[in-house]
């Protein structure tokens, strides 16, 4: 399993792997928003939590189809399906690799982007914390969507249609944590909900994703 994780990470970081593209997309998004709504600090600070989370969702979505598509094309997914580790484990590892290459860089870079959008300094720790807790769920849900659409020729658009509604609860609680953090309120409740969703998704989604993969590998 560790070998598989290392393999996926190497593939993602080598040339053509698309590592960092999500981050660049996030940067572009944070650059475009002030052009759209105007440079006033007050307005930007108000909408920053939402923009940051929506940006994270979209950046994560961009690289989702890579989770299984490349392995499906060159046949290594069939080998993994017959490998001694259960397919559920393969899915979990793939999602973890996706998170390490997309979610984690976003978490690390988030304070910088918060600065760009005039997010109050008091909210920055909450931004990092909510992203750290929330983004693993995004990768795992995305792995489910990618598993459903892996056999389709033009699955990209369908993938976003299927996955984005699943992101809504994470988005609501994630942005709420930052908003309350910025106002200095109590963040315990949304944080608990956010962590609960992530924990449930991590525990249950590998089974659903593996079931969908088995259908597509028949």
């Amino acid at each position: 399993m560790i070998a598989l994780l290392l393999r996926d990470l190497t593939l993602a970081t080598r040339a053509g792997g698309g590592f960092g593209l999500g981050l660049a997309f996030f940067l572009i998004l944070c650059t475009l928003v002030p052009f759209g709504v105007g440079p006033q600090g007050g307005t930007l600070a108000l909408i920053a939590p939402g923009i940051l989370w929506v940006g994270a969702l979209l950046a994560c979505l961009l690289s989702l189809d890579r989770i299984f598509a490349l392995d499906h094309e060159d046949g290594s997914l069939d080998l993994l399906a017959t490998a001694p580790i259960p397919l559920e484990g393969v899915v979990a590892i793939k999602a973890a690799a996706h998170w390490l290459t997309t979610g984690l860089p976003l978490v690390v870079a988030a304070p910088l982007f918060g600065l760009l959008l005039h997010l109050p300094a008091t909210a920055t720790p909450w931004l990092v914390l909510s992203m750290l807790i929330g983004t693993p769920a995004l990768s795992m849900l995305g792995a489910f969507g990618a598993a459903i659409t892996v056999g389709l020729r033009r699955g990209g658009l369908l993938l976003s249609l299927l996955v984005l509604p699943l992101y809504i609860p994470t988005l609501i609680f994630g942005a709420e944590v930052i908003r309350r953090g910025a106002e200095g309120g109590s963040t315990v409740t949304p944080l608990a909900f956010l962590a609960g969703i992530t924990a449930a998704v991590l525990a249950l989604m590998p089974f659903a994703a593996a079931a969908a993969l088995r259908v597509n590998l028949r």
Binding site: I148, L161, L162, P165, L166, P169, I172, P190, F193, A211
Partner: protein, 241 residues
Amino acid sequence: MSIWEYANPVKFMRTSGAILPWAVAGAALCTVGGLVWGFLTPEDYKQGSTVKIVFIHVPAAMMAINIWVMMLVASLTWLIRRHHVSALAAKAAAPVGAVMTLIALATGAIWGQPMWGTWWEWDPRLTSFLILFLFYVGYIALWSAVEDPDSAADLTGWLCLVGSVFALLSRYAVLFWNQGLHQGASLSVAEGERMSAVYRYPLYLSMLGFFLLFLALLLIRTRTEIRRRRLAALQAREARA
């Protein structure tokens, strides 16, 4: 005698063919009756004549949710017991459910404009219906995207399962996110919270009518799907010979 006998397409076709005329007639009678009766009700002292949209809005909203539940049950039946009729019924129900959701959203907007002064408000109930509509759209899109019918049934079945959990989760997550403008449940058991009998009985009739309408549409669409499946099988046999 067990319910699983109807998983046999031949038996299903025979039984549904016998029920269908009654369902169509009942749907027409109850829907038209409920709406006409509803139209003749007196005007509400606060809402005026706009109150009458409730006879479309509430039944459509009720069916929108119940059709998704029916699809969930049918998907589970397919995933567990592999009855093809069940998968086809879930496929046939989805567009009806999507249209019901749209009707509920549209009538709500038409009512909301004079009453709340806005076509749309990011109210928890409205928002969760929009999310439900997105789930319907995704479900229908997945059915049309996968070519192999059995794989399509499997994948949409799993999507329906996961979607149900998240639709429910979103329903309560949006409560957290914004306070509501929408009134509470239209039909409550508690005395005093109930709407007046003048409105209640036409509403019951209209709800029955919408249910029968769904039943009729579901049977027609499922029968079409079964016939389409038979046609494909015949064509495949023809091509081999």
